[in-house]
Structures are given as C-alpha cells and as structure tokens.
C-alpha cells in the first residue's frame, strides 16, 4: 500500500484523508490540514518544536509516519484553547513572557499540558526533565519554567 485512507480526530474534529505512506505527521498537519501551529525545527527529533499530542501523549510529529497514528486523537496547539478562552498554560506563558520568537512555544505548551495532567504540582526539576527535549534559543528557559509552575499552582 502506498496510500491509505486515514481518519484522524484532529483537535476534536474527525478528518478523513488519503495519506501517502511516506507522509510524516508534521507534513500532513501542516500541508494537508493547514495547521500553522505545527512548527518543524530540525526534522530529526532533536528540538521538540514539532511536538503534538497523540491520544494525549507528546509525540515528535517530524519523526512519525502519519499512517501509524490513524484512528487516533491528535491535539495541536490550535486545539488547546476552548473557543476564545485560552488554556491556563497559554495564559501563563503570555503573562510570564515565556516566549519570544514563539517557534518552540507550541511544543512547549503541549508537553507541559501532558506534564500537568499526570503531575499537577511539579517541581522545577520535574518541569525541566519533562521539557528537556524542547530547545528554546530565545528565553534561556527561566520564564518557561516559571510559567508552567504558575499554571500548575493556578490549577490547584
């Protein structure tokens, strides 16, 4: 098979697409579904920018064949807010200046979302461990850790 009809639930919406087997998840999300929040930084799994959630778990979309996640729920940063109401992490990133160029932000947000789901009150070290695969060249990370900490405290 070189093309497979795939169903993905992308940000809560069921999408049926004919996907080439060689298409990466990042390529399908960007090219075929037009999701601008999917950012590819390296293509080799070393920067974490392309991270999306597959059934709630952070996955590197640049290193995942799209056909292997058919039938699954995919959340990109576009799916984090509820209408115009931002996710607490999004609010917190804005408030704490946890982003500058913003290119790593979607991956950071999604990985943090998962972290807070399994660990609602993480330590600074927990956050660093969870986000170690996410490179940021702008912020020096301090404010990102601050923002995740604050979002966690706010949720309690």
């Amino acid at each position: 098979m070189r093309r497979i009809v795939c169903t993905f639930v992308v940000n809560g919406v069921t999408r049926e697409l004919l996907v080439e087997t060689n298409a990466l998840l990042s390529e399908v999300l960007q090219d075929d579904l037009g999701l601008k929040g999917v950012h590819v930084g390296c293509g080799t799994g070393d920067c974490g920018a392309c991270t999306v959630l597959v059934d709630g778990l952070p996955v590197l979309s640049c290193s995942t064949l799209a056909v292997t996640v058919r039938g699954k729920e995919i959340t990109t940063v576009e799916g984090m807010a509820n209408g115009t109401k931002l996710h607490p992490l999004q609010e917190s990133f804005i408030e704490h200046g946890a982003l500058q160029c913003g290119y790593c932000t979607p991956g950071m947000l999604l990985a943090s979302k998962r972290l807070l789901e399994i660990n609602p009150s993480p330590s600074r070290q927990d956050i660093k461990d969870a986000l170690a695969g996410h490179l940021c060249r702008c912020t020096g990370y301090n404010k990102i850790v601050d923002a995740v900490m604050a979002a966690a405290e706010g949720e309690e």
């Binding site: 098979m1 990466l24 293509g43 799994g45 952070p58 064949l65 170690a132």
Partner: protein, 298 residues
C-alpha cells in the same frame, strides 16, 4: 502533498510475528523493520536507507510487554518503549539501574517513541542501554520464519550499525537476567550536554560473593566500533575484595585494554575517551561498592 521528506515505500502492518517474518522473508534486504520508527525515519530522511517496504511492528500486540515472572529474567518485548521501562514498577524495583540508564537518553518524547529493542538493533556503540545490558548479560531472542535463536547482546553487534541479524530475521524480545539479592549494577556516562549522545560510558555488574567479587562484567560504550568488555580488568577483580586500590588498578587495566580503541569525532577525542574509561570504570565500581554497602546495611 507539497513537502514530503521521505521517498515512497510500501507500508505493511502485520498483526502477528509470523506475518512479519513472512513479509521480511519476501522483501529481504529491501525491507526495513520499524518499531518506534525514530532512527529508521532519520536514516530514511538522509537517504542512508531507501527501503522498498517498511514493515511496522506497531500492530503486533504480542510484542508489547515487559514481563518478569517473580523476580526471574526480565523480558522486554520488541515494542516496549524506553519510557515504559522507566515507568514499570517491576523494573524500578528490581532493575533500577535500567531506569537510571534510560533517563540518560535524549528527551521524554524520544524515550516515549523509541523502543528498547529498536535502540539495541540500531547498533550504535554509544547506546546507553546496550552498554548496561551487555554488562548485565542480556540476550536477544531472534526470530525468523520457522526458527528462533538466542544471541547474547554482547555478540549482537559486529560493527557500527551492523548486527548479526540475517535476511528475514528480527528481534522478538530482549531478556535481562535477574539481579537477585547479590548482584549489583551501575551505569555512568559522559555527554556534552545532558540530552546529547553519550561520548563515553561504562556499565558494570558485580556479583557479591561473601564480600568479594564473584562474577564481574564491565562494558564500555563509545570507545570502539562496538561496545566492548574489558576482560583484563574483570579478571583482576574476580575473587577480590573491592578495595580502593583494587578498583584503581582495575580501572587502569580497563583503560589500557586493547579493545579500547576510541576515535576522535565531533563529540570528543580519542585521548580523552581513553582516559575517561579509567575514570568512569573507577566511578562505576565505587558506586557498586556503595550499593553493596547500602544493601548490607539493610
């Protein structure tokens, strides 16, 4: 449709190991087996691998397991992710050194996507898991259509990214012997930054025999085309008490072992790597001693 980094290929998702074996046999070397997919996709992006067919194991539920029957051998199925090792209560309890080693690897995302067996099959001499698992005496269970064999992990790689796997073969699981109450393992490594690939690493396993060294295995990673055991140092230690001076001597022997033939590359240079073998062997053995003393204190 617009940007596609990979070339076209046939894609198969067998549901059983037997099906996978058949596909492997029919496509031969034109097929690539994919578990987590991380390293395969990278090599396909660079064009190092151009498989006609990709055989994904992800739908073979029977390969998704981490088993240990009452403190017996730990069996890690071909689809068990590195992350699942980290998270397994059993592994945390009885093979804690594997958890510690797993955490040296890349990022949470990489460990969640990557499988233990995939990591071992990649055949890099810098593999953290392979280094400790060789010290622990792990074995690979290899299957092909109609046959199964077991290969000690230390004989599994014959060169960088080259394994003993023959056409049509794949690894079903890796078995790690039980440590029991008397074996102690330690893993130490050096890398440029924390998530970086290891530049030198040492894994050791020591069997405590009445306060002295029983069996001992020392594996050194990233200093030769494959992960190597430093047997002179092992021999020296066998039957000895682990005193500081003995450890120091063993570490010196390890550094000078002929199998330690490091190269200079972007991560480090040969001289440094060679010297670090001594430092890390010493540190790993010292750590083992600490663990023995800790266990004794209990």
């Amino acid at each position: 449709m617009f940007f596609r980094a990979l070339r076209h290929f046939e894609f198969f998702e067998p549901k059983t190991v037997a099906e996978a074996n058949e596909l492997l046999l029919s496509y031969g070397h034109q097929a690539s087996v994919m578990a987590g997919g991380l390293s395969l996709i990278q090599t396909m992006k660079t064009g190092e691998k151009k498989p006609e067919a990709v055989i994904s194991l992800q739908k073979i539920d029977s390969l998704k397991f981490i088993d240990s029957d009452n403190d017996q051998d730990l069996k890690i199925g071909a689809l068990a992710t590195i992350r699942s090792i980290e998270k397994s209560r059993e592994v945390q309890k009885h093979w804690a050194v594997l958890v510690q080693t797993a955490r040296c690897i890349g990022s949470v995302e990489v460990r969640r996507m990557g499988t233990v067996v995939g990591n071992l099959c990649d055949g890099t001499p810098a593999s953290d898991l392979a280094t400790i698992l060789i010290a622990m005496g792990a074995k690979m269970r290899v299957t092909s259509s109609g046959a199964e064999r077991e290969v000690p992990l230390e004989n599994f790689c014959v060169g960088p990214h080259q394994t003993v796997l023959e056409e049509g073969e794949m690894v079903r699981e890796v078995r790690v012997p039980s440590l029991g109450d008397h074996s102690f393992a330690s893993y130490v490594n050096l890398a440029r930054t924390k998530p970086d690939i290891t530049k030198v690493s040492v894994g050791v396993l020591v069997k405590n025999q009445n306060g002295a060294c029983g069996d001992v295995r020392i594996a050194v990673g990233a200093v030769a085309p494959v992960i190597v055991r430093v047997r002179k140092a092992e021999e020296l230690l066998r039957g000895e008490k682990l005193k500081a001076s003995t450890i120091e001597e063993a570490a010196r022997l390890a550094q000078e072992d002929v199998v330690v033939r490091p190269i200079t590359d972007i991560r480090s240079n040969a001289g440094y790597r060679k010297e670090m073998v001594r430092v890390l062997v010493e540190r790993a053995l010292t750590d083992v001693v600490d663990k023995m003393n800790g266990a004794h204190a209990h």
